[in-house]
Structure formats: C-alpha cells, structure tokens
Amino acid sequence: MLDLNQRVVLDRAGFAALLQALADDGHALVGPTVGDGAIVLDAIAGIDDLPRGVGDDQAPGHYRLRDRGDAALFGYAVSPHAWKRELLPPRVPLVQIRRSATGLAIEAAPAPTRKVAFIGVRGCELAAIAIQDRVLATGAHPDADYAARRAQSFILAVHCGSPAGTCFCVSMETGPRARGAFDLAATELLDGEHRFVIEIGSDAGRAILARVASRTATTDDVTAATAVTDHAATQMGRAMPTAGLRDLLMANLEHPRWQHVADRCLGCANCTMSCPTCFCTSVEDTTDLSGDVATRTRRWDSCFTADFAYVHGGSARPSLRARYRQWMTHKLATWHDQFDSSGCVGCGRCITWCPVGIDLTEEVAAIRAAPAPRSHADG
C-alpha cells in the first residue's frame, strides 16, 4: 500500500498507464494538446495526445509555440485555456421554462455527472481553482453546476519547469511548485531517463496510482525534482511586489495612469476570458421557434463590455478608464475584501493575450512609482 507521503517514479510507459488507469476508472481525460498553433486544454485519449517537445514563448501580446528538441510532455508554461473552461464552462444551461395554458413549468438543468481528470494542472492554476471554489461554491448561494463539476474532478498536477516571459507565480506565491488540493502531482524529469516523480495528495490519487507499476523514488529523484521547480522559480519573466498592493490601489483610484492605460486598452475582454479566476457571468434567454420553451443559459461575461454595469439610464462605468480600473482593482485589491485573497495567481495570461500587450505588472509598477499624494477614496 502506498503511503501518502511516499514519492514514486513512473517512466513514460508508467505515466501512460496512469492516464489509462484514470480513463478506466471512468474519467474523461482533459489535458494539454496542440491545436490551432497553441497548447489548448481539450479531451485527450492518452499520452500520445500530449504535446511532445513543444514549448511556448510568451511576451506581452505575443505567443508562439517552439520546438524544444526534447521529449518533454509538459515543456510549456500555461495554455491560453484555463481550467475554468471545465468547471465554469463558457455556456451552461441553467433552467428551462416551458409555457403552457396552465402557466410556466420550470425544469432545472440536470446536475453534470461527468468525472473529469484534469491532466497537467500548474501551481498557478491549482491556486486559481481554489480561488474559484471560494467565490462560487462556499457562499450562502453556491453555484450548483460548478460545485457538481468540482466534486467530480480529479487533479493530476504537473509542477512547472518552464515558466514563460509573462509568468510571475513566485510573486503571487502560487508556484512553480503546485501546493494545495491535488490528487497527484508530478515533476517531469528529462535528465537521464524520461521519468515523472509523483507525489500523492489524496486517497483517490493513491488508489489510482496503486494500479500502475511504479518504483519508490530515490533521494536523487527527489532532489532532481526539487531542482526543476527551484530553477523554474528563478526564470520568472515578470515580478509584481504585493506588499501593500491593496491599499496602494485603493488609495489611487483617481491616478492618471488609469487614463494612460485606457488610451491603449481596446476593451476586447481577452484578459478576462483568459484569466483563470475571472468568474463574471451573465444569464440570457433563448426561445425555441414556438416561443413556448425558453432556456436560461449562463455565459461568461466581462467587466470590459459596455453593458456589463448597465442599469436603466446608462452604464455605471461608461469609460474604458473605469472598466480597466474595475478589473485591475477587483483582481488585486477588492478581491481581498471579498474573498480574503488576491484574485491574481501570476499566470500571465492577461499579459500574453492582450492584443496590445498591456501588462498589469507594469501598470501596478507605474502607480507604485508615483502614487497619488492623497486618497480620494477616503474623502
């Protein structure tokens, strides 16, 4: 019987067997795969669908895949896709309402019953999932669909060995080593034999791992695994000092930098779509041709759209300046007030996928460099 604190080693065939064991256990496998010139999170059949020797170059407004010239299966930083695609899907039917002569018949959408194994979750992403758990599943009115998906998820984390130019998980204390609630966590080792050092995080993880042939990790294996993430921690492309960040931003709600960034921002919402913690949604109605059956669908929304804060008479935030400020101050400041943590995990997606390369670490630094003399928020 494997011990929770035990570390074991799987070779490539063993890792393939682990994925197969998860599939045999009734999990749909979702993991990284190459598609559309990017590493996307999609259904995978097994190890052959994982990217092989593919890395990613990321910079503000820039993303390219590159050939690493090795056999790495997890040799990239992060996908443009976040795991919220699985847990808080872009569109989810909530409730169907049928109109008849006798009134309205309400039928809540059935709870999802799909066991999904998340393959290759990074430390930053694990932190993002924990944040969304707090936002969506622990309040007085939890999101039923999210909670059901979450309860059926199996997480195979893979510690990050290849941060990108837009990464700053070290600043946000979320990586590169995944901590928190994983079932299994792997470190991919490429020196010498291609192998994975596996940590066990839960009984479910232990049970799956027990089904595949493994060997006990040696001190050398564990040292090598630690070295991977230790090295990764030195490869951060960005940094964002967080000391006093909440108060800094709340004291600078009228800082001229907001207009500066608004002049560049397109209001396209890419940052919010790619962000692994952004949770804002809207609900819309669609009716069938008869007009009798209406389906209420929850879909992703973004605080960058013009109608996001619309009340009769107009939007509460007509300017892009206000919308960008809302996004960034929510992420980095008011999130603390609401959920006792930052809303940012340092994954860098919002920087990479901003078409004009707006970099929130740079925006924060600009405000930090020249804070307003006094707080308007206190007035």
Binding site: V95, I97, R99, A137, F279, V283, A309, G313, Q326
Partner: protein, 278 residues
C-alpha cells in the same frame, strides 16, 4: 481533487407565480400582487428577481406589507426590455420569481429612536414595507417623519396611501414636487428643502431611497444638520443578473450590491460612492 463542497440547489431555479392583481400607479409605473397562501416571508428592503418568459429577469424590490406575507407586492417602472414587457401583463399572467435577496432596512436597530424616511420618486416603493412596519409597531419608535419628493403632483406614487398616512396624528408626512400647477398647495423644490425647520436629532435614524443624486444631496443636507452618516441608511441600484453574488455585475468597490446591499449604512458605502464610475 474532489472536494467536500456542499451539494447545492440550483441558485437560478425560479418559482412560477400568477399575477393576482395588476394595477396602474403612474403612466409608466404599475403594481403586481401575487397570492402566496404559504406566505412569502421577507424583510423590508429586500428584493426579488422577476422573470418574464423568454425575455429576461430583473431585480425588483418588494413593496408589500411584511405583516401579510401571503400577498407579495412589486411596484415596477417600465424602463427597460423586461419591465416594458411586464407593463403589458395582466392578472392571470405568470412570472418567475426567486428571492428574497439582499440586506434589509435596520428596523430592529432603530427601535426607540426617531425615524426619518426620506425618499424621492419610485424610491418610495422599497421603503413602503419599512413604513408599514414602523406604523404597525408605532409604539416601538419615537417620532416618525416621511418626506417625499416627486417630479409633479401627477407623479406621486401611492397617493392614496400617502394621504392616509398624512391623515394620521402619530406621524408627519410632507410631500414636495419639482413643478406643479395652481392646484398644488404644497411646497415646490427638491426633497431636501423639507428638512428646513424640521426638528432633527443626531441620534435619529434616517432611511433614504431615491435617485443616487438625490441621496447625495440628502446626505449633504443631513451632514449640515448634524446627523452622523452612521445613522443614515441608503438603498442602491446596480446591474444584477444572479442576485446572489455569483455573477459579478453589481460590484461597487469591494461590495456586491445584491448580497451586501442593496441597503447599506451610509458610512460603509460612502467611500465607494464618492469615486466617479467605480
């Protein structure tokens, strides 16, 4: 990792309710009443999400009497896509209802104190349950004053009821309008004008609801009269899609107006209201 997250009920599931009575209050304002034999318990100041089949859902404050929960009452202004369709509905039509949501007026906290209700336009609708409670528990409170501002005499909401309250000898009701013809005998101006000469004590509790600009000026006037902001409560309006803190639309600074509000003690929300477009 599979977590021990609670199995949750669908927060968006709604209850079909048949409009029992529909009445017109003003040109663009109407009231729906629903009979709820089992009772629809709520606290004054709370709101429901009301759904029109195939059109959409809107947050509407509850305007009924908290002492008669068997009758759910909503007063609605036709201003948007959903409420304009509602405007065409009649008794017998069915809406989807879910709620009640949000924070309430601090009626327990105000016991023993003088209470000033200050409201403008449709702001009287979310305050009606609070007023009915105050008057029904008259002995629990000190002096009760209701100041109401409307655009014109024809725009006075709940006119009959205001007149009835005004006829009581145990509360004071004053109304003011922005403009009027010769048949108006009351004062003309903004609602803050009604504070002139009104006895006010710093210890009084003030319940405030109306257009945001009206509430700003009212707070300013109350500042001048020495009423601390810790004794003023306001009800705010923001975009809401879920009503329960999941969708993010209603955020005002660090606050979710749907669950932390819509009723706030003013000192707690004032910093956020002072930042333009927050």
């Amino acid at each position: 990792m599979a977590t021990s997250l609670p199995v949750a009920a669908n927060a968006y599931a709604l209850e079909p309710m048949t409009i029992a009575r529909a009445s017109r209050d003003l040109d663009d304002v109407f009231t729906f009443e629903f009979d709820v034999p089992g009772g629809f318990a709520f606290r004054p100041g709370q709101f429901n999400m009301l759904y029109v089949h195939g059109v959409g859902e809107v947050p509407i404050s509850i305007s009924g009497d908290p002492a008669t929960p068997q009758r759910l009452v909503h007063t609605i202004r036709a201003v948007g896509t959903v409420t304009r369709v509602m405007d065409k509905l009649k008794a017998g039509d069915v809406l989807g209802v879910r709620g009640p949501y949000g924070a309430a007026w601090p009626l327990d906290e105000l016991r023993g104190k003088d209470v000033l209700v200050m409201t403008g336009g449709l702001g009287l609708a979310p305050l009606r349950p609070a007023i009915l409670h105050l008057l029904a528990h008259r002995g629990d409170y000190g002096r009760i004053t209701i100041l109401y501002g409307a655009r014109s005499p024809a725009d006075i909401l709940y006119r009959d009821e205001l007149a009835r309250w005004r006829g009581r000898f145990d509360c004071r009701v004053e109304a003011i309008v922005d403009r009027a013809g010769r048949d108006w005998y009351g004062p003309i101006g903004v609602v803050t004008r009604l504070l002139d000469g009104l006895p006010l004590d710093p210890d009084d509790g003030v319940l405030l609801c109306g257009p945001e600009i009206m509430m700003r000026f009212a707070v300013r006037a109350l500042d001048e009269r020495g009423v601390p902001r810790t004794n003023i409560w306001v009800s705010l309006e923001r975009s809401m899609k879920c009503g329960v803190g999941l969708c993010g639309h209603c955020q005002l600074g660090g606050s979710f107006v749907c669950k932390d509000g819509p009723v706030y003690r003013f000192d707690r929300i004032a910093p956020a209201l002072q930042v333009r477009e927050l």
